[in-house]
């Protein structure tokens, strides 16, 4: 486990170094971007000094790493506020969106996958329909689906407001309400992928020898399915769910803009646009941290689901 944590830290360091280097190579100046065409040289100098941009690149990188070790990610050039504060302010919004999307994936994707597997083992006509539907779900871009949802549920049916998002400070109910449509928009492709994986995984297990022998012994079908098949199907499903969780986080970048949600995704877009290096780096470190953390959780889940992994180790 210690080795894994060390690898994770190394990954974070590499990510920061790559982003830092890329930002040094691409043209454009963050202070000029901030000030626009009417920039004043005096104010420019004040800001350059304030953000340490008058110092050499290497010095800036190490000072940033040093800050990071003290949980200080510096100050955003665009917003003139601490990066930590900006990320923490928006974290509940993106986390809310991610968790809710993930709940949809689990609540809809897994049961539907099992259902389809159970009643549609062979590639019958119904199977083709499911295939087309799930393929469509995977192929449709989340921002496009978001717009369709807005047109149907906001403009035509008037069930939701377009900019329905409210921060959690205004109440949990309104917060959740604002996340319903964006979560559906993000999760539709993940749900489709989950259905396919669950279906394939369960079908594969259902045709294995132990299922046949259990059937021959007269064990009830549902008992075989929920007691044995599902457990054995879960390993690939958990892996794919981990991947999908990361997909959902990155998918929020586009969907947050469509629904005007001030989350990490829209913050990253704004940071990149304005070449706000401290903020971009901060968010990338945060996302890398989440990804590393999710895979750590997956490792733990594997051990719970399949005791053989524990034994092997």
């Amino acid at each position: 486990m210690l080795k894994r944590i060390l690898y994770s830290l190394l990954t974070l360091l590499l990510v920061s170094l790559i982003i830092f280097t890329i930002f040094q190579c691409i043209p454009g100046d963050p202070i000029l971007s901030k000030l626009g065409e009417e920039y004043d040289p005096t104010l420019e100098a004040v800001l350059r000094e304030e953000f340490g941009l008058d110092k050499p690149v290497v010095e800036r990188y190490f000072s940033w790493i040093n800050g990071l070790l003290h949980f200080d990610m510096g100050k955003s050039i665009k917003y003139n506020l601490p990066v930590n504060k900006l990320i923490l302010d928006r974290l509940p919004n993106t986390l809310g969106l991610t968790i809710m999307s993930f709940v949809f994936v689990i609540l809809i994707g897994i049961p539907l996958g099992i259902f389809i597997a159970k009643y549609n083992k062979s590639n019958s006509n119904r199977g083709v329909v499911f295939n087309i539907l799930t393929q469509l779900g995977i192929a449709i871009p989340s921002f496009f689906f978001a717009m369709i949802l807005i047109i149907i549920f906001c403009i035509k049916l008037k069930i939701f407001e377009v900019s329905a998002f409210r921060p959690i400070s205004q109440g949990f109910g309104v917060f959740i309400k604002g996340l319903v449509l964006p979560s559906i928009a993000i999760s539709v492709s993940a749900i489709s992928i989950t259905i396919r994986y669950v279906r394939n995984s369960v079908v594969e297990q259902l045709s294995s020898d132990y299922v046949l022998s259990a059937k021959n012994k007269g064990v009830k079908e549902n008992r075989i399915l929920f007691k044995h098949v599902l457990r054995n199907s879960m390993i690939p499903i958990v892996t794919i769910l981990g991947m999908l969780f990361v997909n959902i986080i990155t998918g929020s970048i586009v969907v947050e803009a469509v629904f005007s949600i001030p989350g990490i995704g829209s913050l990253l877009t704004a940071a990149i646009k304005s070449k706000d290096l401290p903020l971009t780096q901060g968010i990338c470190v945060y996302i890398s941290f989440v990804v590393v953390f999710v895979f750590l959780i997956l490792d733990i889940l594997y051990r719970i689901i399949d005791p053989r992994i524990r034994v092997k180790e």
Binding site: G28, L32, K34, R90, M147, V162, V258, S260
Partner: protein, 511 residues
């Protein structure tokens, strides 16, 4: 039976999902019920496309921030709707003969949002702060102020005397600077306090800024609407949807988005913007050193077509000045080079550039400019000129084109200002921001003379002559002052337009 259990499970899960969605949506129809309607009357929601660069008025530089924050802060003077400078916090002012000393008499009934009285010491602090002469700000924040203001003296509570280093005819327009309470500089970025019609309530970066009516605003009866919210829409499609759904009362938009808005609920208004969109030609680029080539491009570009395609109702320009400021505007220059392909070809042949090729750098963020560049590209093809378009990001444009002048041509739109000096000084030979490398001694003399001219009529005359030189010399191709188009809730009335970016909420009210 077996089937039944699994079906039940699925039904339960699906029902849960829908119930969850349904419950949370139960009160989503708010805008339609009576209470919400009443609430709407007391609140205006303005959609804005960009986030704020800083809430501190002395650190903020973005036009998009200033057009909103004019509602929170006030200066000694302010712009009027016809571009004049009128008194605001200052009741009156006097100057000495050579206009190097201004004495402002302040109004006595002006209060800051924290309840304190606005006095001369606050004015002194605010001006000293931008000049870098206060305890909390030792470096100047703006050379435009630091180079001009010698010292500021608070003669008594309501009299401020400002001594200038030399005559500066544009000084008065600089006094629109936000006045903030003494020693409040450190907290302005997080909790801005001004003396404007609205006071700051909250700001969620990337989402919205909330304001509330300042009951102590010195103009009685203003503002009229109790609450204001500026919502940030980084995605214009989302803004169009929100407008269609009645969630925004006001937003400015470009032609292609505005055409999607239903006119049942909104009025679409069009005003000149006091902006200059031009095809900037680097006068130091070899082919453009020849005036005939520059003139040829002027003849080859059909501005009317560009206007019709991109910004209906825009003002055609012939120089770097918009007719929206008529006092300083030289009439008739817009058709100095009437569209004439033959003449363009002839001039190019004479100059020996019949197969001219050049690259035009355009900032990708500004759709109006990238689209104008595409139309220009097609128009120039007709005279055998091959203009390549290179799209770059805004930060790169500022660094590469604007600062380092590393370009052959560019399409850009410059926001207008209250004073012509800031608009026309751009092309003075040794000026730092003369990005087209225009050099003309007569032009320089006129602009420099105008900057210290105390007689306004004479000053306007100098500017008109300078504009004529810009046109005669075909310094660039000046295209149009694009239309400022916005959609406004048809229940709102009292909108006032300004020749600078200012969303003035003071006079707006629901019918």
């Amino acid at each position: 039976m077996k089937l039944g259990r699994l079906k039940k499970l699925l039904c339960c899960l699906t029902a849960c999902a829908f119930l969850f969605t349904g419950c949370s949506a139960s009160d989503a129809n708010k805008p339609n019920d009576n209470n919400a309607q009443q609430e709407k009357q007391d609140k205006i929601v303005v959609g804005i496309p960009q986030d704020f660069d800083s809430l501190d008025p002395h650190l903020s530089n973005a036009t998009g921030t200033q057009e909103v924050m004019f509602n929170v802060f006030t200066g000694l003077v302010s712009p009027s709707s016809n571009g004049e400078i009128i008194s605001e916090i200052a009741e009156s002012y006097t100057t000495n003969q050579d206009m190097t000393t201004y004495t402002f008499k302040l109004r006595k009934n002006v209060k800051f949002h924290d309840g304190s009285d606005l006095t001369a010491s606050d004015v002194k602090y605010s001006l000293d702060r931008v000049c870098g002469k206060t305890e909390d700000q030792k470096e100047p924040l703006s050379s435009a102020y630091a180079n001009v203001i010698d010292n500021v003296i608070a003669e008594d509570d309501y009299t401020v005397k400002i001594n200038l280093t030399s005559t500066d005819a544009s000084f008065l327009s600089k006094m629109t600077l936000a006045i903030i309470p003494e020693n409040s500089g450190a907290t302005q970025a997080e909790k801005p306090i001004g003396a404007g019609p609205y006071k700051f309530i909250s700001y969620t970066p990337g989402m919205s800024l909330t304001l509330e009516k300042n009951d102590d605003y010195y103009i009685e009866g203003q503002p009229k609407i109790q609450n204001a919210e500026f919502k940030i829409y980084s995605d214009m499609n989302a803004a169009v949807f929100a407008l269609s759904n009645g969630e925004i009362n006001y937003m400015n938009m470009t032609e292609d988005y505005i055409s999607q808005i239903s006119t049942d609920k909104f009025i679409i208004e069009t005003y000149p913007m006091n902006t200059v969109q031009l095809l900037g030609l680097n006068n130091d680029f070899e082919p453009f050193k020849d005036i005939r080539v520059r003139q040829a491009l002027n003849y080859a570009i059909d501005k009317d077509t560009i206007i019709n395609m991109l910004s209906k109702g825009a003002k055609k320009l012939g120089t770097n000045f918009s007719p929206v400021m008529p006092y300083y505007y030289q009439d008739g220059l817009e058709d100095y080079y009437k569209y004439d392909i033959e003449k363009a070809r002839q001039l190019l042949n004479e100059a020996g550039y019949s197969d001219l090729k050049f690259t035009c750098k355009v900032a990708s963020e500004y759709k109006l400019n990238t689209e104008a560049a595409q139309i220009i590209q097609q128009q120039l093809l007709e005279v055998g000129v091959d203009m390549q378009i290179e799209t770059i990001d805004w930060g790169t444009w500022l660094e590469d084109v604007y600062t380092n002048r590393n370009h052959e041509a560019t399409v850009i739109g410059f926001t207008g200002k209250l004073d012509p000096d800031g608009i026309l000084k751009r092309y003075v030979s040794d000026y730092r921001k003369n990005f087209i490398n225009f050099k003309n001694n007569d032009y320089d003399n006129l602009i420099n003379k105008a900057a210290v001219e105390v007689n306004n009529d004479k000053r306007a005359e100098y500017y008109k002559q300078a504009e004529t030189i810009l046109a005669e010399e075909a310094s660039s191709v000046y295209i149009m002052d694009p239309s400022y188009q916005f959609v406004i809730d048809n229940r709102l009335e009292g909108y006032v337009f300004y020749p600078i970016n200012f969303i003035d909420l003071r006079t707006l009210q629901f019918k």
